[in-house]
């Protein structure tokens, strides 16, 4: 049976399904390791050496070391994991969303206070392609 992915046409969204989870396993385990202070200290002392404990792909490693937040999700990362890497860099959830959306913190916060991103025009990839 082929696994159906009816969610592939939701724009600007990477659903963390079983395939993404398998792809991102070591990347996510690296990110979540930073939940604990001794690991954060070790990463700080020698980022490249610390990250090499986790056998991820060179693309994942590069995206992690360069804080390429959307790319991390595309390469199998999940937001609850990548947000730990963000927290390590002093970036909170809302600031991270500001970065991922390309809006920046201030404009993103303003959008949320004004009611958030509207669902209109944001349901299907085709609606984004038309823009």
């Amino acid at each position: 049976m082929t696994i159906q992915k009816p969610y592939d046409d939701i724009p600007g969204t990477i659903i963390f399904d079983s395939q993404q989870a398998a792809k991102g396993y070591h990347l996510n385990q690296f990110c979540i390791s930073l939940r604990l202070a001794p690991n954060r200290d070790a990463f700080k002392a020698d980022p490249e050496n610390y990250i090499d404990q986790f056998p991820m792909t060179s693309d994942q490693r590069h995206a992690a070391l360069n804080q390429d937040w959307n790319r991390l999700l595309e390469l199998g990362g999940n937001i609850y994991y990548t947000s730990k890497l963000a927290a390590y860099h002093g970036i909170n959830f809302q600031e991270l969303a500001g970065l991922m959306t390309g809006k920046g913190s201030t404009a993103y916060r303003e959008m949320m206070i004004s009611g958030g991103r509207s669902i209109e025009g944001n349901r299907y990839q085709s609606e984004w392609d038309d823009k």
């Binding site: 939701i10 963390f16 979540i32 939940r35 202070a37 937001i79 609850y80 959306t101």
Partner: protein, 279 residues
């Protein structure tokens, strides 16, 4: 015998925990949200449940990518607030109810819900933020908690219909426990929100309202909402709302809606809250 008196639905946005812990819950940003829960704290003080059965999701805290149980029932004597990367929340340790947990664990499996049993588990904001919203900042939480962690991080989360059926099975389990205990069931998470990638910040208030109306008045129909609808209409993380159906399944078919509160935003999220009483 034990019985279920009421249900509470409540978002568990981590920023609300931070606001409470750092003393800014009355500021212009958070004030309106905490005000919406003032009624709830008063109600809770009168309701005085003996036990809370709390449905929530862990955010890669007790469970990282190594182990992902769909339903994990807490059976421990206590649950310590976890360090989620910036130190544990300064809130009391959560006491469990081992006898009730053990009874529910056995009853659920014999009723065809093959849950995972957790004899040791730390709990994150998913569990502690709803307690803060409903009880404020007490020295000790006023009653024990039986936690049920649901996977909503890795797709697919359990179906809404399965969560609703699990709620009914939890009710059977609780009602067959010989001790006279009044139980309040919490369903947490939601409402519409997307935390990730370019569509982050999605909020769909019209959909949230319809979701709450169906949950309260037509739960059988609402429990059929498909995953694709949650993800498309309520955002990729809006799928947490399936957990409200565990709570709803544990209540009567007809309930009294005692309180409803809705607010946008808390950080990236729409906050929703309901208090339902069995009539």
């Amino acid at each position: 015998m034990a019985y279920i008196s009421s249900g509470v639905a409540c978002s568990h946005v981590p920023a609300l925990g931070v606001a409470s812990d750092s003393g800014i819950s009355n500021d212009d940003y958070y004030g309106p949200i905490f005000k919406g829960f003032e009624f709830s704290k008063d109600w809770m003080a009168k309701e005085k449940p003996d036990v809370i059965f709390l449905v929530y999701n862990d955010h890669c805290t007790a469970f990282d990518a190594r182990v992902i149980p769909t339903f994990a029932l807490g059976c421990a004597a206590e649950y310590a607030p976890a360090d989620e990367g910036w130190g544990p929340r300064p809130v009391p340790t959560v006491n469990g109810h081992r006898d009730l947990s053990a009874h529910i664990a056995q009853s659920l499996v014999l009723d065809s819900f093959d849950i995972t049993i957790m004899n040791e588990m730390e709990v994150d904001h998913g569990l502690t933020v709803p307690l803060t919203m409903m009880f404020g900042q007490p020295e000790q939480w006023p009653c024990p908690v039986v936690p049920l962690a649901v996977n909503v991080v890795q797709y697919p989360a359990p179906l809404g219909s399965r969560c609703y059926a699990l709620g009914k099975s939890i009710r059977k389990a609780i009602e067959s426990f010989p001790e006279n205990l009044k139980v309040c069931v919490f369903g947490t998470g939601g409402m519409s929100h997307q935390l990730q990638h370019q569509r982050a910040g999605l909020i769909n208030s019209a959909w949230d309202e319809r979701f709450m109306n169906l949950l309260v008045n037509e739960p059988e129909k609402g429990s059929q909402i498909e995953h694709i609808e949650y993800m498309r209409e309520a955002g990729s993380e809006g799928i947490e709302l399936v957990m409200w159906y565990v709570m709803r399944g544990a209540l009567n078919d007809k309930v009294n809606e005692i309180h409803r509160f809705y607010h946008v935003p808390a950080s990236n999220t729409a906050v929703g809250h309901l208090i339902l009483e069995n009539n």
